[in-house]
C-alpha cells in the first residue's frame, strides 16, 4: 500500500518497466515544455499522448 495517488492504469504501466522507464525519460527530456504541453511517446509506430494536467513548483525553505 502506498500513500501517493497511483491509478490502476498507472500501476499497470509501472509494472511494465521498459515502458514506464521510457515514459519517465520522455517526461525528463521534455521537462522544459511540460508546464504547457503534452508529450508524445511513439511505440511501434503508434503515437500515445501523455497528458500533463498541471504542474506545480514547491519551494522549500532552502530553495532560492
Amino acid at each position: 500500500m502506498t500513500n501517493a495517488k497511483i491509478s490502476p492504469k498507472a500501476r499497470a504501466i509501472l509494472r511494465n518497466r521498459p515502458l514506464s522507464s521510457a515514459i519517465a525519460m520522455a517526461l525528463v527530456e521534455n521537462s522544459h515544455t511540460l508546464a504547457r504541453k503534452n508529450v508524445i511517446v511513439t511505440i511501434s509506430d503508434n503515437n500515445y499522448i501523455i497528458k500533463i494536467s498541471s504542474s506545480l513548483t514547491v519551494q522549500t525553505k532552502k530553495g532560492k
Partner: protein, 251 residues
C-alpha cells in the same frame, strides 16, 4: 489539598471535545493539532458549553457540592457530607454520564469526518480539513484551489523533478512519486520510482539524463531544495502496450 484527584476529574470533564477532535482527525496524514495551550483552552470552552447543554436536560439532582469538594481537594469533611453508599451511586452516575457523553462525541466526530469526506468539505474549508498540507498537494487539491474547481484534476500519477543537495553538488532527480512519509505537517521523505538523475547547472539548465538502477529511490526532505510536480494522465489504451521500440517527442 489533593491536586492529582482534581486534575483527573478536570481531565475527564474536558474529554468529550478532545474525543470529538481525535475521532474527526484520526488516521494517516492527520492534520497537525493545535498547541497544548490552545487545545486546553478550546477543550475548556467547548466542554463548558457541552456540559451546560446536557445538564439543562438532566432533571435529576446534580450534587455539585460533592464535585466542588473533590475539585477543591479538601476532603476533611467528605465523610460528613456524603456516605459511602451515596458516593458509590454518585460515582456510577458520573461514570455513566461521561461514558455517554464521550461515546456520543466519538460518534459525532466520525459522522462529521464521513460528511466532510463525502461532500469534499475537507478540501475546501480549513475548519473541516482532515489531512496535512502535503497530502492535499500530492493528491492534486492545490490545483483544484488554484483553478477554483470543485474537484481535483483527474490524473494517474505524479511525476516529480526534485532539486537535491548532495555531497557531489546539486542534482535533479526525476521519477514517479510512489510514496511519501510525513510527520505531522512536515514531509519527512519521498519515494520515487524509475528515477532519472541529472546534474544541475546554474546557467545552462541540466546535464545529461541517466537512469538510476533499482526499484525505488528514497529522498529525505531535508536535502530537497525544491520540487516540481507534474500531474500526469496516461492514454486509455496504453497499459497493454509492450515496452519495445519506443521513441519520444514533445507536442
Amino acid at each position: 489539598m489533593n491536586i492529582a484527584l482534581s486534575a483527573v476529574i478536570i481531565f475527564i470533564l474536558l474529554m468529550p471535545p478532545i474525543a470529538f477532535y481525535l475521532s474527526f482527525t484520526f488516521g494517516r496524514f492527520a492534520k497537525g493539532g493545535p498547541g497544548l495551550l490552545e487545545g486546553l483552552m478550546l477543550s475548556a470552552i467547548f466542554s463548558t458549553v457541552l456540559h451546560g447543554i446536557v445538564l439543562y436536560f438532566i432533571k435529576a439532582e446534580t450534587r455539585f457540592d460533592i464535585l466542588a469538594l473533590l475539585l477543591g481537594g479538601d476532603l476533611k469533611t467528605f465523610n460528613i457530607t456524603v456516605t459511602n453508599g451515596t458516593f458509590k451511586n454518585l460515582f456510577l452516575a458520573f461514570v455513566k454520564y461521561n461514558s455517554i457523553l464521550i461515546s456520543t462525541s466519538i460518534i459525532a466526530g466520525l459522522c462529521f469526518r464521513w460528511l466532510s469526506e463525502r461532500f469534499g468539505w475537507h478540501a475546501q474549508s480549513e475548519l473541516f480539513r482532515l489531512y496535512n498540507r502535503w497530502w492535499y498537494l500530492f493528491q492534486g487539491h492545490k490545483i483544484q484551489w488554484f483553478a477554483n474547481q470543485s474537484t481535483p484534476p483527474d490524473f494517474d500519477i505524479v511525476f516529480v523533478d526534485v532539486l537535491v543537495n548532495t555531497n557531489a553538488g546539486t542534482v535533479i532527480y526525476s521519477g514517479y512519486l510512489v510514496d511519501f512519509v510525513c510527520s505531522g505537517e512536515t514531509l519527512d521523505r519521498i519515494y520515487l520510482s524509475e528515477t532519472i538523475k541529472r546534474e544541475f547547472k546554474q546557467n545552462s539548465g541540466s546535464g545529461e539524463a541517466r537512469a538510476i538502477d533499482g526499484e525505488t529511490m528514497v529522498i529525505p526532505y531535508s536535502n530537497i531544495i525544491n520540487m516540481n510536480l507534474h500531474f500526469v494522465s496516461f492514454p486509455e489504451d496504453m497499459e497493454s502496450v509492450p515496452g519495445a521500440e519506443i521513441s519520444v517527442s514533445g507536442e
